[in-house]
Amino acid sequence: MGIKQRGIKILTAILLSFLLLTTACAQATPDRFTAVQQESTRKGSGLAVAKNATQGSEFNKFFPTSSDEYQRVFTQEKKGFAEANLKKAGKVIAQLAISDTTSTPAAAAKFDKSTEKIAGYPSLEIGTTQTAILVSNKYQVKVISKDPTFKTGDRADWIQKFNLDGLASLK
């Protein structure tokens, strides 16, 4: 075998192994979301939101209303979920949300650890920006700070501005 031919053979072998190595790597680099990606696509669709979840449009009427100082602008309305921006002088200072935990049992279960109450409902602080309560063991009401001036106490105040009794009577 000539030197040239041998050289080509060696080069081919190197290239092949390099190719195998890179394809193997490309396939075998699971990241922190690989498992949930597989799980959420394996069982087919219709999984993220429960069939019997309450329509988001049912929640709208229980949100705090706009005033001279604050504007409430609805931003999302999906099955089991409704959200609005709370604005002051044109700036979003907080987000207000109601969700049906039928689709997210873990969201309801976390209130087992709650030791505080707001308006008689179990409450939790989540992360550094959220205050949440669970109404009728089913509906989660959250107020989320979007501006540093909107603090923990403001969140508790605004949770009480929802029509919580009305929400509790929703079937």
Partner: protein, 295 residues
Amino acid sequence: MSKPIQKLVDELPTGGLTVSMLNALDFVAPGEWKNPVGFVNTIKSVTGEDDEDLIQQIGERAIYLYNDHSQGYQTAMWLYQTVDATDKALGAAILANKVGEKIPLLGFLNSLTPKAEKAQTIDLTLKLVAELIAFCQINGIPGDSIGDFVAALGEYGGESMIRMVALVCVDGLIPLGPHFIDKALQGIGNMTPNDLNSNATFSSIKDKIPGESDGKKLNFIGESFNSVTGWMSNIVSENNISVETLLERFQGFIEFSEDKLDYLAALIDVSTNYYEHTGTQTLAKRLIERAFAEI
């Protein structure tokens, strides 16, 4: 199976012609658009949280929601991708230019075909209709609610705002001139269902456009465009946008002469994907906001 949402957000570029163009339009809404890229990074910037366990929970819920076809997010993504029919080969040739060097329009004249006004009008109005439908798919307002859409345009910020500004500038002003709104209104008024049907983008997305017949879909397109003309002309007048100011800004990254505006529009059309790019960012933001509120 289309690409996972986390991959789409992770793979958004931080440079290239699309990003250069969007940055050049930033003067209309200074600081509104910061090109958020990366899934985890986007979760952090949208929520303001940095606890890894919390970020994991938000990411997992967002992925579940996206992968549930009934939630409409994948339809929205597909619309953003479909109205941005880029020419990959030409895009690659343009990218072959050295980083930092201006793209010479002259070098690509032979590969470009300027669009006739009718085709450009269809392009402009279809992108707007795609925005309306994608908005409703993402935010859940029924698909034919033009009034809600127009009200929400006032709330548009960040990547949605810069997308609408780009639409006005590169799909309106540059190819159709300062009277692009009237031209498009007139163009859509004279259009027949047959004209629409010979358009490839329309054929792709027609099933998603409200209306039982092509004629009714055409009406819907016309009404949608008509309802945002006031908003569009406000963007132009409030920001003193003119073809001249745009060209001055675009000279920063494309080398062209002003007698070749139709070619400049064609180059931008085939080599940028600003709808898909910022659409991915809009969708990710709303998805993450919902996930954060639901967990």
